[in-house]
């Protein structure tokens, strides 16, 4: 982990389809901080995470990062983060092990065998992803966090489709990451169990207003 890593968000405004949906969001997270984003459906949680990950440009405001080596520039920032979105991003015909090998190569890190063990998918290693149950697929998607080994985790409803054991496992994953000095930003409807250091409640625009 980068020592004294900071992730600061200042006065962020995000638009989707030409409509401003997120206004004036700000937080300043340091090593070991858990940032919880809440808000009703359509409030802009996913959009906000995609701004942080650098996929979407904010309308206003800035996302800055720094470590004790100084500020991290915009291009480098994206490489300090990893986003797990709503979609698992699996390829039906590839097996669990092939997915892991792909990510291990793509992110140039992580010990596949150990990760396979840790996410509990070892017995399913040879199964094509198409045949996984929803929760098994979600576990596989989350294993990317362990293979990419980035200091900042951006999680979009990570516990969806996970069973009780799966949620406990996820909490363990998040807690370990925080304990080792990482930052976790998660958009959730139900708390994942970790105690948030910052809460970002997106404006509870009702669906009716969200036209």
């Amino acid at each position: 982990m980068l020592p004294s890593l900071r992730l600061s968000v200042e006065d962020l405004a995000v638009a989707r389809g030409g409509r401003r949906i997120v206004e004036r969001i700000g937080f300043n997270a340091g090593p070991g901080d858990y940032v919880e984003i809440t808000g009703p459906n359509g409030a802009g949680k996913t959009s906000l995470l995609r701004v942080l990950a650098g996929f979407l440009r904010p309308l206003e405001g800035r996302v800055t990062m720094s470590s004790n080596f100084g500020p991290i520039d915009r291009d480098e920032q994206a490489l300090c983060m990893h986003l797990i979105g709503h979609r698992d991003g699996l390829k039906g015909p590839l097996s669990v092990a092939e997915h892991m090998a792909f990510w291990a190569g793509l992110y140039e890190g992580g010990d596949e065998a150990a990760v396979l063990e840790r996410v509990g998918l070892k017995p399913l290693a040879e199964r094509p992803a198409r045949t996984l149950s929803a929760g098994q697929a979600r576990r596989l998607a989350l294993s990317r966090l362990l293979l990419a080994q980035r200091p900042v985790w951006l999680l979009d409803e990570p516990a969806a489709t996970l069973d009780i054991a799966g949620r406990a496992w996820l909490l363990g994953l998040v807690s370990d990451h925080l304990a080792s000095g990482g930052i976790v930003v998660a958009a959730v409807h139900d708390p994942i169990g970790a105690l948030p250091n910052h809460r970002v409640a997106l404006n509870p625009a009702t669906l009716a207003e969200a036209s």
């Binding site: 994206a78 986003l83 979105g85 015909p93 590839l94 792909f102 190569g105 793509l106």
Partner: protein
Amino acid sequence: MNAAVAAVFKRDLTLAWLGGAGAAAPLGFFVGATVLVPLAIGADGKMLALIGPPLLWVSAALAALMTLERVFQADLEDGALDQMLLARAPFEALVLAKGAAAWVAVGGTIALAAAPLALTMQAPLPSLPIIFIDMAIGMIAFFGTGLLAAALAAGVRRAGVLIALLVLPFYAPPIIFGAAATAAAARGEGLFTPPFLLLAGCALAALALGPIGAAAAARLQAE
């Protein structure tokens, strides 16, 4: 970076070969296209020799286009594009790896199949290796420009129109030069004919510009 490029290359290659259809199917498509030609125009050998090479090239271009269409669309829909953008390796290199995998899996098979099929269109035996090389190089041109078009069109509402419109002008020169080179080879004029050199030029241009343009376009799609 090398590991990431290799990983993308390997994954796309595996995906291309998986599903059983891998080896047999592009072959089948191609064999089919060339079987349909004589069926439609009749068994006249002279006529076949004339129309064979261009039609071979048009079907090769179609086969390339068919495989490209979903290269980015699928990755965009299932979130795999996000995963690649989050890698440390330059995205351009990863896109190049994608293109290279498609080229090896599909282009290679088609080039291999093209040679024996040219036989049925009265090309002489010694010209077959030349026809293989023509095809393999032509495929670079198809995949380079096709990659760009696929990236531009992914996620767009009228992707079909876009791909067709974008790709056609770029495909015309390699098809024309390629068909001419193949026809020249069948006439026994060897490999380094003028149309072949022009074809190689198209391929080089596509190789240089395709992946960079495609990467820039795909980055925008990931919003």
